[in-house]
Each structure stands twice: as structure tokens, then as C-alpha cells.
Amino acid sequence: MTGADLVALFANADFWSAVLRIATPLIFGTLGALLCERAGVLNLGIEGIMVAGAFAGWLAVYQGASLWTGVAAAALAGAAFGLLHALLTVSLALSQHVSGLGITLFATSASYFAYRVTFPNVSTPPTIRPFAELSAIPIPVLASQTALTWAALVAVPIIAWMLYRTPLGLALRMVGENPAAVEGQGIDVVRLRTGAVVAGSALMGVAGAFLTLSAFNAFYFNMVNGRGWICIALVVFAGWRPGKALAGALLFAFFDALQLRLQQQAGGIPYQLYLMAPYLLSIAALVVVARRATYPQALMKPWRKGER
């Protein structure tokens, strides 16, 4: 591919539409993981919660509910698994790593089980009518996006505002840094952390729903395919800031869209190398930011009332 080809690619609105489309589930997922981690709870359940969200949202719509009801169902499924994670890691102070991986296994297998029970004998996955593109909007790249992408873009400033401009946001950031101080202010640490994990997990559920209700029109096995883990990396890359999370998700999506295009054009190079590139870049990005990463001080530290 020559320089002129690249210029042509970047001048093409379709390319940038693809970038936004790829970024959308990552934006939702990263915001969700960010909320959990800002409150001091690592949520490795994200990969499975996205599967559950993708399935619950799709099933609701398939059974006749509206698309937005489907999104709500996905959020609810995510919130339910988030509540379980919060019970185990916040109330019972169990290992966040182990509980998160357990939730991923549980949510994934429960969704696959439910899918097979509901559709025992289908070979091709049943489809729904997904969200339509908002073509009435006269801006080239945004016109080819669905309402869910818009929702993701709007969610970023809302969550940033909540975190930095409201008492709730202050308490939430503080509980991830110094839970004892929050306790001293008369705020219930367990409740606050539980709320953050439930809300963050609901966003992860919506991230999954984007896949079945907007990007595709059916539920496939392995459709989440590591996107949740990418979100966990993006949170670190973003330094736990919503604006940077958006930037990180777009950057990742840019490289992903780019490798997809290059894959189609360049001959001779194994396609797997292109597919590897986004993962390798993520690791490289983590190494670069690691030195100045300022983790929430109480992240992964279980908190028990009265214990130091």
C-alpha cells in the first residue's frame, strides 16, 4: 500500500464510520470498567457480562420487545451479574481477580446454555431487525451510525461530569482511593462500591447489546471475542479518565479498522499478523503508560469495616 492509497483511505468516510462502529462497544465497556475501578473494584467479569448483555438484549428483541427494551434488558442482565460480583468482592471481601473470572465463566456459560435451551435445533442463528442508521443527520460519518453509538458518545461527558462535578462522583473517586476516609464522612462504603459496580456492569451489558442489536443482527458464540479484556487494558491506558477512555477506544478502533483494510489489500503477508496487531499495540501502550499510571490507591484492596 502506497502513501497515496493511505491518503485515499483516510479521506474515505466509510473508514471513519467503521472506526466509530468498532469503538462503540469499547466505549461502553471501558466506561463501565472505569466506574468499577474508580470505586476500587477490578471487574474481570466484563468479558462474560458482555456475552450476557449481548444475549439478553437480543433475546428480548427476538421475543417481540422494542430495541430500547432490549438495551434495558442487557443493562439489567449486566447489573445482575455486577451485583453478584459486588456481593462477593465488596460485601464478602473475596479476591476480585478470582470472583471476576468466575463471573465471566458463569455469565458466558449461562448465556450459551440459555441460548441452546431456547433454540435447541437451529443451525443458522435467528435474526432480528437491528437499530437503523440515523441517516437524517447531515454529517457524513455520524449519519451512518446507530442511536447506540450516539448514546456511547453522550455517555462520556455525562460520566465525566458525574465523576468530577457531583458529590456522588467525589465520593466514588474517594472510595477507590481511601475508603476509611469515606467511612469517616458517614458514607456507607459497601453501598457506594456496590452501586458503582452494578452501574458499571450495566454499561458492560449495553456494550454487549451493541453487538447483537446494532453491529450484527443475531447472537453468535464467541462474538465478544476478547473485547472485554481490551476494555480492561483501555482503562489503564486512559489513566481512569472518561475523556481519555474515549480517545483510547477510538485509537484502538482506528488501528483495528486499519488492519482490516490492509488485510484485504496486501497479499503475501499472513492475515493473522494483521489480527495480532491491535493486541500487540495494546500491550505496547500499557508498557508506555505504566510508569506514570496512577492506579486508584485502593484498587483490588478489599475493605472490611473496622479492619486496617
Binding site: 473470572l101 446454555f113 435447541p120 480492561i232 500499557l286 505504566a290
Partner: protein
């Protein structure tokens, strides 16, 4: 409401806890079976029969348990040092690939090198591949502070793509009719059957011996003490002069090596060659097994047989009644969570 450590550790509670967890797991999964519309008693009977009910069932369970024991040991030793190795899946594939790269040299002939030389070289290559694959993220953590959970997870995807590339390219079996699989190992490089007319192979012996060695090392050697100290409190360990970074690196070599060996043993004991679906998530299951076993190496053997029995039993059950095999993963996940909670309540109690 808060948790309070029990002043007296009740022996009864510690013994009862695992049974309570199993009962809870059966209760939850019973609801799912009922939802699928299958007769509950028959479903569980079929599952038990398929996993443990006959000589054949046991042989299949033990065959399935072999790689799980090794990945379980891999997770147990790493988690003991609080090295969160979530990359055993990738390390397993790297080991399998390395084993075939060495053992299957020159189109599978291995240049006619005698098995007495080639076989140890093959296992060594697999151990090395897995070990190096975990050493990199571990050094990134101890040198640069990069979280190893994310890097080991991402490496799984990278390794799988690399394996796919190798199976499409230089390591492809030309006689496999376009199916992506590697060249096969020579017969004399494959593991012997442990029990005649079954698939159980001597890999089971490797796993059991390694578990015993690891149990001894962790309990009775200075190194084992250092690993436990680093895991319990890395700062305190550093303060008393334990070389934390070096201990982590050695743990990484052991943990990654065990997962790599699991790949080689699968190839030499069961499949004979590498395919992209040779592991249905053995690396991830190893984490669950290590946790079920409370990170105890000998416990890993038992937990691996339990998980393998559930997986094999569910496969066989789903041929008899209309319950999807995914029930097996649900059972494993729920048993993990309920075991964690049960052992917690054996040590703590709730106080209002």
C-alpha cells in the same frame, strides 16, 4: 453487617463447607435442568454415569483430567505468589507448538534422531516456550509495573493467532487436505497407554509426580517459603531480604513451564498433532481448578478429576436428554463461587 474472624476455627465447619458448596451448586443447576424440561434425576444419573459410572467413564475422565491437572498446577503455583497468570491457555498452545516444532522436525521424521534424545528435547522445548511466554509479562510487571492480568490475557489471543499462522504455513500437514493441523509426531514420540484399550496415557503419571514434587517444594523448602511470603505480603518479604522480583521470575518459569508441558503432553498423549481446537479452554479451567483446590498442589489432582468428570459426564448426558452441554461450565462456575463463599464462612461469621 460485617465479617468477623471466628475466634475458634471450627473443624466441623471446615469439613462441612465443601459439601455445602456442592449441595448449593447442585441446587442451582437443578433449576437450569428443570428449565430445559429434562427429568432432573435422570439427568444427574446420566451425568454421573458418563463421568464416573464405568471403567470407560473413568478412563475418559482421567484422560480429560491430565491437561487440567497441569494447568491447575500452573495456576496454583503462580497464584500462591500472587502472580496473576491468566495466560495458561496461550502457554499451553505455545508448548504444543514447540513440541511439534522439535519432535515433528523435517516433515515428522525428526531427521531420524532416536526418541531417547528427541523426546526429552521435545518436552524441554514445550516447557521453555511456556516459561518464556509467562516470563515476559512477569518482567514487564516487576520492571515497569505493567499489570500482568491484562498482558497474559492479551497474549492468549496473540499466541492463538500465531498458532493459526503456523498451521496455515510452515507447520501445516500437507496431507491434511487443507484442514489446519500440524504434522503428526512419530509413533515412538507418543506417550504409552497407561491402561490398555483406553485413551489414558502416561501423561497422568507426569501430572501426579509433578503435583507431589510441587507440594513438597511449596511446603518444605526455602523457595516454597519465599513464594508464600511474596504472595502474602510482597513488601514485608522484600523487607526481610527475600528477592521478590527474582522469586516472581522463577515462579513464572515454573508456572508457564507447567502450562507449556500440558500442551506437549496433550499432543504426545492424545492428539498426535496440533490443531486450533485442541484445548477447549484448559488454561482457563486450570484457574478454577486451582481455586477449588485452595491452591494446594495435591488438591489440584482431585479438583481436576472433579471438573473433568463434570465435563465428560455432561457430554455423555446430553446425548441422552435434551440438556445442553454448557451445563458443565455452569456447574464448574457455580461450584467455584460457592466454594469460595463456603470456605470464607468456615473462617468468618457475619455480625450485625
Amino acid at each position: 453487617m460485617r465479617l468477623e474472624a471466628r475466634a475458634h476455627r471450627s473443624r466441623v465447619a471446615i469439613v462441612v463447607a465443601p459439601f455445602a458448596a456442592i449441595a448449593f451448586t447442585l441446587g442451582v443447576t437443578m433449576l437450569l435442568v428443570a428449565w430445559a424440561g429434562a427429568p432432573i434425576g435422570q439427568t444427574y444419573a446420566l451425568m454421573f454415569d458418563g463421568g464416573f459410572g464405568s471403567r470407560f467413564a473413568w478412563s475418559e475422565t482421567l484422560t480429560r483430567a491430565t491437561p487440567l491437572m497441569l494447568t491447575g498446577l500452573s495456576a496454583a503455583v503462580a497464584f500462591r505468589a500472587r502472580l496473576w497468570n491468566i495466560g495458561a491457555e496461550g502457554q499451553l498452545y505455545a508448548g504444543a507448538l514447540a513440541a511439534v516444532a522439535v519432535g515433528g522436525l523435517h516433515g515428522g521424521s525428526g531427521f531420524g534422531v532416536p526418541a531417547a534424545v528427541l523426546f526429552p528435547a521435545m518436552l524441554g522445548a514445550a516447557v521453555l516456550a511456556g516459561a518464556v511466554l509467562l516470563l515476559i509479562p512477569t518482567l514487564l510487571r516487576t520492571r515497569f509495573g505493567v499489570d500482568e492480568v491484562v498482558t497474559t490475557l492479551l497474549l492468549n489471543f496473540i499466541v492463538l493467532l500465531f498458532v493459526s499462522m503456523m498451521l496455515d504455513g510452515p507447520m501445516k500437514d500437507p496431507t491434511a487436505l487443507g484442514w489446519p493441523q500440524s504434522v503428526a509426531l512419530r509413533d515412538d514420540l507418543q506417550l504409552d497407554r497407561l491402561i490398555a484399550r483406553t485413551r489414558v496415557h502416561t501423561g497422568l503419571v507426569y501430572a501426579a509426580v509433578l503435583a507431589a514434587v510441587l507440594a513438597f517444594v511449596m511446603r518444605a523448602t526455602t523457595f516454597g517459603f519465599e513464594v508464600r511470603a511474596v504472595g502474602a505480603n510482597a513488601r514485608a518479604a522484600a523487607f526481610v531480604g527475600i528477592p521478590v522480583a527474582r522469586t516472581m521470575a522463577v515462579v513464572a518459569l515454573i508456572s508457564g513451564g507447567l502450562a507449556g508441558l500440558a500442551g506437549a503432553i496433550e499432543v504426545a498423549g492424545r492428539t498426535g498433532y496440533v490443531t486450533l481446537d485442541m484445548s477447549p479452554g484448559y488454561g482457563y479451567s486450570g484457574i478454577v481448578i486451582a481455586m477449588l483446590a485452595g491452591l494446594n498442589p495435591l488438591g489440584v489432582l482431585v479438583a481436576a478429576i472433579f471438573v473433568a468428570g463434570v465435563l465428560v459426564g455432561a457430554d455423555s448426558m446430553s446425548r441422552g436428554v435434551a440438556v445442553p452441554t454448557y451445563i458443565a461450565d455452569v456447574i464448574v462456575a457455580v461450584s467455584l463461587v460457592s466454594m469460595l463463599v463456603a470456605t470464607l464462612f468456615a473462617r468468618y461469621r457475619l455480625r450485625r
